[in-house]
Symmetry: C2
Subunit: 663 residues, 2 copies
């Protein structure tokens, strides 16, 4: 058998496993795996450094299937190369409840799935973060320990999504030359030929963003191999435009949108078997082909062993530090450092915006945690995300710790996800909270994957002031709290800001959003507590002088207002308590007894938050009182706005009194 014949049979194994699995599931996307099988075969059998027996080898090459609907391509290759998680039963169980082989690749379901993809463009943008993390770690640990490629397979959909522009312009700017992206240039999208909706010259577009580009026949293995070799030598990231036929081998559907997203049917598959000379039952991969694939899968074992050797030769401190970072553990003493820092805060009682107290916390955190990588979508001075330790990461020089992401909130969030997925770094990045909307698809994926991306969202209410309703979050706290497995933390002062950072950094299975003010706030936590009170989600900040008639719940900047209202109520002989609620999600996790003690038994429950009510009924009950927003904000100085929208201590007092009078 010639090399080419063997290649074809190996690629056909991907094609038929994909066709068969989609057919059995009666659901899925056969077109991409069939079209891109040659690319995957060349990449996985000749270039990609990986070891299925040690799938989490730190210096493995990363492979991202950005066109996640083609999941059977990835599952087929993982099975064929011998990843234990994906056996033939998993392939046969494609898209069924509990299968590791979900409709789209889901991070955490099986080793070898480097990121969750499906929402288009995300994988490509993740890969920028992975390639950046690789360079950052390389700058710290050297070529012997970190030196790998990041490969991506992206489709037309990925390239049409706006996030792709943010990703490629950032990657091009930063000269991430170990990033190699295949564009599965098959001229087909769901609606039909690409010419229906697009006429972009993609190579020119990538070149405009500083990329190296190549074009190959995506069904010619030697051309593909040559392109990868060229790409590996580039001083810039590389796009390989690979001309392919979607559904390659399907007698009537190849090259059409009918091959894209539904089972081909028995007849078409039979035709493909004939056309491609694949005379085997469904799911059967003949021994010669399976053996060849398994050999390819075993290729990486030596390389991994060589890496282990090199790594073993490193000094103990380097090894310990690298392993700690890759595990994602925080350094010993981190907790105590936060406690000590909180102690100074409760003495200093700073009156600063929480975006500033976030920066102050970061200043001590970044001094202790060399793995944090900060950044902002062009609002560095406003988000207060840069500290003295974080020099800029520059094109070709990755020794810094701060990314100037540019005005690219979506690309930033997705790149942060990629960094978190790569491991070894902890990414945080900022923008105005209103623009969390731009980043939302990636923030959702961070939650779904359960990874430690930390989103710093400042200017978190009408407190932003004059910029007006386009920039004032109103529904954003509710909308972010709605995302499952997403920690929304809204600290009320400097101590809570420090606690929020501790929570976010210690949260290894959920991303966090820190909601921070533009405006100054007083210190409210002036009595030191070793315990991280914010970690309970809600706690009594001020007790009532007697049997509480009212409990005022508040978050962030409105805790100050709640405290002021309580003082007035107390002078009026109405005992009242204040509960700070930095996190709904964390409060929900407390036991019933604690929850009941915090919610209390006061006849009046009132919440104050400069956002909409949605979600608050869980805490105050649907008959609770709410002081907040009911619609969009307005452009004016902050004092005017709080008055105009009635978010004041006076309004709280009046509401409590009114309710008590009725009772």
């Amino acid at each position: 058998m010639t090399t080419r014949e063997q290649h074809d049979r190996m690629a056909n194994a991907i094609r038929f496993l994909s066709m068969d699995a989609v057919e059995k599931a009666n659901s899925g996307h056969p077109g991409l795996p069939m079209g891109a099988a040659d690319i995957a075969t060349v990449l996985f059998t000749r270039f990609l450094n990986f070891d299925p027996k040690n799938p989490n080898w730190a210096d493995r090459d990363r492979f991202v299937l950005s066109a996640g609907h083609g999941s059977m391509l990835l599952y087929s290759v993982l099975y064929l190369t011998g990843y234990p998680d994906i056996d033939l039963d998993q392939i046969k169980n494609f898209r069924q409840l509990g299968a590791k082989t979900a409709g789209h690749p889901e991070y955490g379901y099986a080793a070898g799935i480097e990121t969750t993809t499906g929402p288009l463009g995300q994988g490509l943008a993740n890969s920028v973060g992975m390639a950046l993390a690789e360079r950052i770690l390389n700058a710290r640990f050297g070529d012997k320990i970190v030196d790998h490629y990041t490969y991506v397979l992206a489709g037309d959909g990925c390239l049409m999504e706006g996030i792709s522009q943010e990703a490629i312009s950032l990657a091009g700017h930063l000269k991430l030359n170990k990033l190699i992206v295949f564009w599965d240039d098959n001229n087909i999208s769901i609606d039909g030929e690409i010419s229906l909706s697009d006429s972009t010259d993609q190579r020119k577009r990538f070149e405009a963003s500083g990329w190296n580009t190549l074009a190959v026949d995506g069904h010619d293995p030697e051309a593909i191999a040559a392109a990868i070799e060229t790409a590996q030598k580039s001083d810039r990231p590389t796009l390989i435009a690979a001309k392919t036929t979607i559904g390659f081998g399907a007698p009537t559907r190849a090259g059409t949108s009918k091959a894209h997203g539904s089972p081909l049917g028995a007849e078409e598959i039979a035709g493909a078997r004939k056309a491609l000379g694949w005379d085997y039952e469904p799911f059967v991969v003949p021994d010669d082909v399976l053996n060849a694939w398994r050999e390819a899968g075993a290729r990486g074992a030596d390389k991994r062993a060589a890496w282990e050797k090199r790594f073993g030769d490193a000094d103990a401190i380097t090894k310990g530090e690298f392993e700690r970072r890759m595990k994602g553990d925080l350094p010993a003493g981190f907790d105590q450092m936060i406690v000590d820092y909180k102690k100074t805060l409760s003495e200093d009682k700073p009156k600063v915006a929480t975006r500033k107290s976030s920066e102050m916390a970061l200043e001590v955190i970044n001094a202790m945690l060399p793995e944090t990588i900060g950044g902002s979508a062009d609002l560095t001075g406003s988000n207060n995300t840069k500290t003295s330790q974080t020099g800029p990461i520059k094109p070709g020089d990755y020794s810094g710790r701060y990314v100037y992401y540019g005005i690219r909130e979506h690309g930033m969030a997705a790149a942060m996800n990629g960094m978190a997925l790569h491991g070894g770094v902890i990414p945080y990045g900022g923008t105005f909270m209103c623009f969390s909307d731009y980043a939302r698809p990636s923030m959702r994926l961070a939650s779904l994957m359960g990874i430690r991306s930390i989103f710093v969202m400042t200017h978190d209410s009408i407190g932003l002031g004059e910029d007006g309703p386009t920039h004032q979050p109103v529904e954003h706290l509710a909308a972010l709290r709605a995302i499952p497995n997403h920690l929304v933390l809204r600290p009320a002062d400097a101590v809570e800001a420090a606690e929020a950072w501790q929570i976010a950094l210690e949260s290894s299975t959920a991303p966090s959003t820190l909601a921070l003010t533009r405006q100054n706030l007083p210190s409210l936590r002036t009595t030191h507590s070793d315990e991280n009170l914010s970690a309970k989600g809600a706690y009594e900040l001020e007790a009532a002088s007697g049997d509480a008639k009212a409990t005022i719940f508040a978050t962030g900047s409105e805790v100050e207002i709640a405290v002021a209202a309580r003082a007035v109520l107390e002078t009026k002989g109405i005992p009242a308590r204040v509960v700070s609620v930095p996190s709904f999600e964390l409060f929900r996790k407390q036991d019933d007894a604690y929850r009941a003690s915090v919610l209390g038994a006061a006849p009046v429950k009132l919440a104050v938050e400069a956002g909409i009510r949605q979600g608050w009924d869980e805490i105050i009950g649907s008959d609770g009182l709410f002081v907040g927003m009911t619609g969009f904000g307005a452009s004016a100085p902050i004092e005017d706005l709080y008055k105009h929208f009635g978010i004041t201590a006076e309004a709280i007092v009046a509401a409590v009194e009114g309710k008590l009078a009725k009772a």
Copy 2:
């Protein structure tokens, strides 16, 4: 005075009004108005067709300040050219409560503000919709009635945002040659020089998307004029890269990020006065300059009169139709048509997915309303957005009524907003509901502006099935309901789908999202009602046989489950009623008596929705029962998923019985 001297003085009027207003407000962005003053002066005094006395003239050129933070540029020009809404008091009241001169341009605050901008990239993407609407109307009404340009001023931020790529690739593909975009190429963003974060060759990038590009000195009026003349003749959209100095004229801050986003201070402004020879008090525009500007503002009156004449010469039917469309009125008989259509549905009782019943409704709507322009972000066959009347809109041929938006949810939504803002068309566009996240910034702006964009979001729950959690909305209904002034409509069957379309089309001050199923649903509204019951937000679909012990609230696909649960409860001797809740927002607007009658007095209130609970407490109370989702979905066939997540009639029955047993 030479022409150039006059130009400079006119441009300086913009500069000083902007500096002075920002200084007085002690907040705002002087840098862009100062840098782009020459561009605006050339455009508004020599090219833009507009008439401040008739600012809504249908065939005016549109001007979009995509870099909305430079709002004082627009306000200055509106004042100088004589728009009545913006007088000198408004300029002096910049960024104050109640001013028309908000921090960022807010649509609806003052004539001459064509769209709300500030969130970057949105204006550019709106302009694509405006330019497309212009071509569509031109194709229907001819050059004599519709033939105008759309001009945009965009900054680096606009071009870095991913949405800009979606916008420019769509515009380039569709050859929208009457779209002319200025790029205020000042090499500065908030964080510093652009080279910190970007090195894109923007001209090459736009050319890759099929644009004509030009480069000029943005401070050379004749060069700017020549570029506009060239652009007007292009057969493609044009980017004019205009090299400018941010904060032009500021002695120490010009050309730096310090000119961008904060007041310059008295000293710097005094220096600018000296440097630019502007020896006038703050807010004073000398007569010669104001007169010259007012003359420029009067330029358009003749053109408008000529247009009125041409329009007057058209036949009565054309005139009536054009005026109706531009007003946004629906044709006479629309309501009756919907009633008649509902009658056939209550007889035919189709068992189809609501995405299909949406298509069926659209089929009759599109036959009656020639102004609807459909589209999808590459999910036409899945979103069911195309009907027999809507032929494709093609590059250079705008006679169709359907836009293949490509995989560009964000660009689609923003372009739809631009179409709605232009007027004369009613845009609707589809994607999977999960990807509403991608479009969210534009959907929010539609709500803030109060315009009739209609978002068709199909596959609205785990009912999507095998594609899995990346594609299954869980929090999206809550997140969309959180946006103020956004109608979320989730119909339960074909009749409710028709009603939802009627509501969306008749909603001229709020955008709508239709949440539609992938899976088939039975007809539940089998008794015809002339009244649009969905317009009340919630209504009793099935009464209890006796004194209701339970009320089951449900939306969309879960109403079927609620009805099944009710039947079981009734057989068990537990009288129960079912309330369908197609829209929270509309139900909130009903009077107390109606709300009370719908909420009812049954001891058990239960809601069932295949999404999270957030928001439901408003209807069922915080002690109400909820059957729905608590986290992300999974990849499996739909039947498995509903069982797996316990969203079944059995679960409802058990919950109701459990609660009644405890009571």
